[in-house]
């Protein structure tokens, strides 16, 4: 004990340390917060924020536009639709610059647009793991680089040019997002196929072989008004790629980095059909019977409405496979009962209302005579969904028998498109 004391005493009389900074830590913090606020409010047309939710950019990036006022308000718009706001609409809330472990920007009152990715739910307790508190790492009038406090993604903001309309800017991004409906691509470097690319949300997973070994690599990206940009430049086979432009006619992303010849080209599966191909008049065959039906657009690139049978029902488009699926679904009411379309195994005599069970289309491959056969999608265990029933249920979900107001049994379905 006494040894330690004498050690401390000796220490206490050494020469003064030179101060590294002119100001104390607290003074520097206050000065930084003031300076950052000046920078944030200085971009008169607001900032483009490249926002990545989820750890490791697991669903890629999304664009917000943010404009900060000196009185502490922030206006936010985005390229996504939320419950009450369409892409391009703005919503105001408050922001604050606070001294935390470092200077932090906090969006500290609710903004339905901005907090979209942070919204938790009972079935997904961390939502899309989106940050709304950011630690500043580099700040200048040309760019602000921050780090999400909880999930750690880098968030970059650059000023939106003066005179650029917010909604127009965002709609360009929406347009790219809507065109890129495909799931499978291939990466070509110097016109040589280098990897198979699977797209999921806004990430690409590259699959390639090295010697005998099959390897994968995943990269998050964000859509720009003309194409995409990677979170970290994609490095593959000695080539570094960052920005790509979307060519809608060829369904191909073309690298725009100088000196790089690379493209990510859609790789359509065999017998691929586009969303629009399915819209029109069809003949619906079941067993040895047939009915005329009409397929119309419900949600573009996602679903269709089929009318002509006892009830209308929805068809779901799979942009990766170019096929359509009839899933189990509620289709209407009859005599106080809910009527559901239930996938059915006509051979075994069973049906199901599990919403993932369905019948998926298979094209015969004949471009002259567009015919599709509906087959089991394979998620119903040992049963084979090879048709469907209209079945009635009570409000508490109890089975109330087969629908008896019209035709209700549709086994072995094929459809042909009328010329």
């Amino acid at each position: 004990m006494l040894m330690i004391i004498s050690g401390i005493l000796a220490q206490s009389c050494t020469k003064d340390e030179e101060d590294i900074f002119d100001q104390s830590a607290a003074e520097r913090m206050t000065a930084a917060l003031d300076e950052y606020k000046t920078v944030l409010t200085g971009a008169t047309n607001g900032w483009v924020m490249e926002y990545y939710p989820e750890e490791e950019q697991a669903i890629g990036g999304y664009t917000f536009l943010c404009s900060f006022s000196a009185s502490g308000e922030v206006s936010v718009a985005s390229e996504i639709n939320t419950e009450n706001y369409e892409a391009g609409e703005t919503k105001r809330s408050l922001y604050k610059l606070i001294a935390d472990a470092g200077p932090v920007l906090s969006f500290d009152t609710y903004n339905e647009i901005f907090h979209y990715f942070a919204e938790p739910s009972g079935s997904d307790v961390d939502g899309y793991a989106g940050d709304y508190e950011f630690v500043f790492t580099e700040v200048s009038a040309d760019s602000v680089i921050m780090k999400g406090k909880k999930y750690g993604n880098r968030i970059v903001m650059t000023p939106l040019p003066e005179g650029q309309d917010w909604n127009e800017y965002l709609q360009e991004i929406v347009a790219i997002d809507e065109q890129v409906v495909f799931g499978t691509f291939k990466l070509l470097i110097n016109d040589q196929e280098a990897a198979v690319v699977e797209k999921s949300d806004r990430t690409f997973t590259l699959e390639y072989t090295e010697g005998e070994e099959v390897k994968t690599m995943t990269a998050g990206f964000i859509y720009t008004g003309t194409g995409l940009k990677f979170y970290e430049p994609l490095e593959f086979g000695g080539v570094v790629m960052n920005r790509f432009e979307w060519d809608g006619d060829q369904s191909t992303f073309i690298c725009t980095d100088t000196g790089v010849n690379a493209r990510i080209e859609v790789d359509l599966p065999e017998n691929y059909r586009y969303y629009g191909d399915y819209i029109g008049q069809w003949t619906f065959y079941y067993n040895n019977l047939s009915k005329p039906v009409t397929i119309t657009q419900e949600v573009r690139n996602k679903t269709y409405r089929v009318s002509g049978l006892s009830f209308d029902f929805l068809l779901t488009y799979d942009p990766a496979a170019g096929s359509v699926t009839i899933f189990a679904q509620d289709v209407g009411t009859y005599n106080g009962y809910t009527v559901s379309l239930c996938p059915w195994d006509p051979v075994a005599g069973y049906f199901t209302w599990s919403p993932t069970v369905g019948l998926v289309s298979e094209w015969n491959g004949d471009p002259e005579d567009f015919e599709i056969i509906f087959k089991n999608n394979g998620v119903w265990g040992t049963y084979v969904a090879d048709g469907f029933l209209f079945w009635m249920f009570t409000s508490s979900g109890a089975s109330a028998g087969r629908y008896n107001g019209g035709e209700s049994r549709f086994p072995f379905i094929t459809m042909t498109k009328q010329q």
Partner: protein
């Protein structure tokens, strides 16, 4: 003896370090002493929460104040204004009316923190509200606020009376006989598996009251004051003869505790709380 040496050493160290210090004190405070800019709501809060009750009503999310184990969203400002007015009228002023503002000011938690979302647990349950050591109360789900008596009671007022009752018994404890009445019937975390009826038949006002005696005690208060006399009678009926007898035996201790320790007549408190929560449509919740 060791302690004496240690203090001596610190003392000596203090003298020595003093003797070597040549730096002047910086005349600037390290805290920002410039006047805080307040928006209209913040000025209202100063007048209606901070000055009369010494409560810091935090409607802006402070990560450091929230539970980092949960992903939460901040509260919407317009909803926060509504809730601030409702809490003042239905909760703070109810206690003012029954026990005087000095009582309310003394025991009320010093921080109220609003959260926009719920705090969801992975087991499918969610947290309605939390109180920490009588100092802070956190209210969730503000963005889903409905100005509806049942909604407010379920998500806020029952929780707030519950937490306030914790502060009271932590300040002055209740008769230990209370714990003996249902001794052996407390089931800890398994309360989530029981229904209202099962709990009542076992002699508890709610399933959660079965978790442990302190919760049992404060649930009795919260359920009693946030519901009508008819509800209480129906609850006793649901409990059956045996269950009702246990509930009433415990409630007698609750009633006496509030009367004798805090001079609060629980029937009067219920009457005031019920009257005030029936007057929601008379409040202007939108304008400050």
């Amino acid at each position: 003896m060791k302690r004496l040496i240690f203090y001596t050493a610190i003392f000596a160290l203090a003298i020595f370090s003093w003797s070597c210090n040549e730096d002047d004190l910086n005349s600037d405070s390290i805290f920002d002493t410039s006047e805080v800019e307040r928006n209209a709501f913040e000025k209202w809060l100063l007048q209606n929460y901070t000055y009369p009750y010494n409560i810091d009503f935090k409607y802006r999310l402070e990560d450091i104040e929230s539970d980092m184990d949960y992903t939460l969203t901040p509260a919407d400002m317009d909803k926060s204004i509504k809730l601030a007015k409702l809490v003042k009228y239905c909760w703070l002023e109810a206690y003012d009316e029954v026990a005087g503002i000095v009582f309310t000011r003394t025991f009320v938690p010093k921080t109220v923190h609003l959260i926009g979302s719920a705090a969801y647990n992975t087991d499918g349950t969610m947290i309605l509200g939390t109180a920490e050591g009588g100092l802070k109360i956190t209210l969730y789900l503000v963005n889903s606020l409905q100005v509806d008596r049942d909604f407010l009671n379920y998500f806020y007022f029952k929780t707030m009376h519950h937490e306030f009752a914790h502060i009271l018994h932590q300040t002055k404890n209740y008769d230990p006989d209370f714990e003996t009445i249902s001794e052996g019937n407390y089931i800890g975390n398994d309360w989530i598996y029981s229904s209202d009826t099962e709990a009542r038949q076992a002699g508890f006002v709610t399933p959660y009251a079965q978790s442990e005696p302190n919760e049992d005690f404060v649930e009795s208060i919260a359920v009693y004051v946030t519901n009508s006399p008819e509800f209480w009678d129906a609850l006793l009926e649901e409990a059956g003869e045996e269950g009702a007898a246990i509930i009433l035996q415990k409630f007698e201790i609750v009633r006496n505790y509030l009367q004798e320790t805090w001079s609060i007549d629980i029937d009067k408190l219920r009457e005031v709380v019920q009257r005030r929560s029936g007057e929601l449509d008379k409040l202007d919740l939108d304008n400050l």
